[in-house]
């Protein structure tokens, strides 16, 4: 069963997107990408370390024919910084996709909505495919979509917190109301059930980094997340039973042998 989805016209069969940070080694990262089954990986844009003669680059290790590289604007605290970073990112691989983060606070890494909207507008005008990271706020999501965002990526919980979905109600509302672009839960996923729960809500995909990279055994967790996203998606498509307060027997009441 192909249950793929499209972002900006590009098809993805895996609904799991991975970040590339926090891995102990490039080798471990690549193996985690493989175990996860992902088809897209986010990367950050940073100055080259000119005194580091080893000079190994992330791109030396990522097969760009296999993985769609999605640069991000991690570490940007203003629209200007994010726009500048996105422009630089585009030059590296001639790739106009950007995962847009405009951070408003160091402790929570929550987004700065104003900066986010401003940067989205500007980058869309410049021809970028913009995937913004936002809180689970329907109004902000709508504004971003009106501004031309190619998807919306609400957080489950603070980046790297591992708390899992903190506001199911908001996510359910978002899922019901946002139909024009894909809805991808990004940030805060801690373990497999968090990912499965997100998919059971009917979101289109899940993005995570720390949940896998900082797990005790990242490769095992990558596989777990692979399965969780698929399981959650299948369960959603299968149509769950309703929740009832009281029991509903599974066996027939006729033909019971009594008094034995």
């Amino acid at each position: 069963m192909t249950d793929s989805f499209k972002i900006a016209g590009r098809e993805f069969r895996s609904r799991l997107i991975l970040g590339s940070g926090k891995y102990a080694s490039f080798e471990l990262m690549i193996r985690a990408l493989e175990a996860s089954g992902t088809e897209m990986v986010t990367v950050a844009v940073r100055r080259v370390n000119l005194t580091d003669r080893a000079k190994e680059s992330l791109l030396d290790h990522v097969d760009t024919r296999k993985y769609h590289v999605l640069p991000n604007t991690a570490g940007c605290y203003s629209a200007d910084e994010a726009i500048r970073t996105a422009m630089l990112a585009r030059e590296v691989l001639d790739n106009n996709w950007i995962k847009l983060e405009v951070i408003g606070d160091e402790k929570t890494l929550f987004p700065d909505n104003q900066g986010l909207l401003e940067a989205t507008r500007e980058l869309v005008k410049e021809g970028f495919v913009v995937l913004p990271y936002l809180n689970d706020d329907l109004i902000v999501a709508r504004r971003l979509i009106d501004a031309g965002a190619a998807a919306v990526m609400p957080l489950a919980a603070p980046i790297g917190s591992g708390l899992g979905i903190q506001n199911f109600t908001n996510l359910r509302i978002l899922r019901e109301q946002i139909r024009e672009v894909p809805l991808i839960v990004d940030a805060g996923v801690g373990t497999a059930s968090d990912a499965a729960l997100a998919m059971e809500l009917g979101v289109d995909g899940v993005l995570m980094n720390t949940g896998i990279a900082s797990a005790g055994d990242p490769l095992a967790m990558a596989e777990a997340m692979n399965l969780a996203v698929r399981a959650g998606r299948l369960a959603y498509l299968a149509g769950r039973i309703p929740r009832k307060l009281y029991a509903s027997a599974s066996s027939p009441t006729e033909g019971i042998v009594s008094g034995v």
């Binding site: 970040g19 950050a44 080259v48 590296v92 160091e106 995570m208």
Partner: protein, 69 residues
């Protein structure tokens, strides 16, 4: 002449162009993006873009990073 690359002072020969700088740093051009005085210079222009005394150059690449600052 003295220029500033990634906020560090560096000496480069007079008349250098961007591609000279990249080569002297031993970097793979296919993995980089370059800014000269806050203006992005496309790779196709590296061979013809002169660097002058006091210029500020930023050389960036992709690193591992998911959703972190």
């Amino acid at each position: 002449m003295t220029i500033i690359v990634n906020e560090s002072e560096t000496q480069v020969p007079e008349g250098s162009v961007i591609s000279d700088l990249i080569r002297s740093l031993g970097l793979n051009p296919e993995r980089l993006a370059v800014e000269l005085n806050r203006k992005i210079i496309r790779r196709s222009g590296w061979g013809s873009t002169r660097i002058s005394e006091g210029d500020k150059v930023e050389v960036v690449h992709f690193v591992g990073g998911g959703e972190e600052a």
